[in-house]
Symmetry: C2
Subunit: 199 residues, 2 copies
């Protein structure tokens, strides 16, 4: 692409690396950054540098944080005896948005996936086990996804935890609120039936 300058191509390539960003979107994003006031674009670069330099994993729950412990682990309002195990930071953020959960989290940063050669040692299972006795954890809520890997990871961890006398639960599967029964897929419907509750 000889028609555009090398520094521009370089910036486009970086946007292109982000999953879900195609060639045209990357181009549009790079040109947007260049169309902004210079200080704004410089601040963007600075924000990347700052995040990369300061953000690390929380010593307790492996959430991303800029201090030793994340705000959730530090908060006296959160129950440390209850731990919700999530695959990634996005899941944690989604859970926090409910404003319902008052326990703490544990971020696995992945799921066990034999096909991708990701084993328990590649995610933060060890860190989770270390918390169980240290924090006096009484309940672990498995909130990994419903993919084969998510289920496998939930099973694997629950087998490790049960002998330690910890109650292990799983998020409920069922119909999404506001959805129509006729549009539900049969797997979801089967799970909704299995998990039916008395009124």
């Amino acid at each position: 692409m000889e028609y555009s300058a090398v520094p521009l191509q370089r910036l486009i390539e970086h946007f292109r690396r982000i999953p879900g960003v195609g060639a045209k979107t990357a181009q549009r994003m790079a040109l947007f950054v260049l169309s902004e006031p210079k200080e704004e674009a410089k601040d963007f670069a600075d924000a990347i540098n700052e995040a990369v330099d300061k953000i690390r994993r929380c010593r307790v729950c492996c959430n991303l944080t800029d201090s030793d412990e994340c705000p959730i682990c530090k908060s006296p309002q959160r129950r440390r005896e209850t731990v919700c195990v999530v695959e990634n930071v996005e899941s944690l953020m989604a859970m926090e948005k409910t404003n319902e959960y008052k326990g703490t989290y544990h971020v696995l940063h992945g799921v066990i996936s034999p096909l991708d050669e990701i084993g328990p040692d590649d995610i933060t299972v060890k860190e989770l086990l270390a918390r169980i006795s240290a924090d006096g954890v009484s309940e672990v809520i498995m909130a990994t996804g419903s993919s084969v890997e998510g289920e496998l990871t939930a099973m694997y961890i629950s087998k490790l935890l049960k002998p330690l006398g910890v109650k292990v639960t799983r998020l409920a599967y069922g119909l999404p609120v506001g959805s129509d029964l006729q549009y539900a897929d049969s797997v979801t419907l089967t799970r909704a039936l299995q998990g039916r509750q008395e009124l």
Copy 2:
């Protein structure tokens, strides 16, 4: 959002500023950048800084470039007597991908839009006029969009150029190649009929 660190929020906000990027996408992008190897993320920041510092408008055609003149204006293979006037760099890139056009460009960096208080002085009309005699331009191809503003801009510029003895043309409107007549909107179809050519 007390659950995530300030430097992470700052980075998410920057992605959020890009048009078309919503809250969740921005979050996903920021977390992707942090999940990359540190050098890669640092290189992204560096790419932004380099682009902002080096990229400027080509002295001749206002395309973005890192030198005085853009590669197209510098190329001896391109006819400087033919100028294709485009709204923005994205349009130039799309045109270049055809590998058909051998003339030069002129990037307006916008369109005349009275409602948004964008007049001829806010886009690079002056620079275009300056080239006409300097480069001995014989044909100007108006390739602004088919929006009201794009048409207005094409009209305005052609009125300025015609007294200078320059041939002003407009890209053809018609059916997109590969499309079905039954799915064409009536405005496009009307234009295709008006622009019909003898076989």
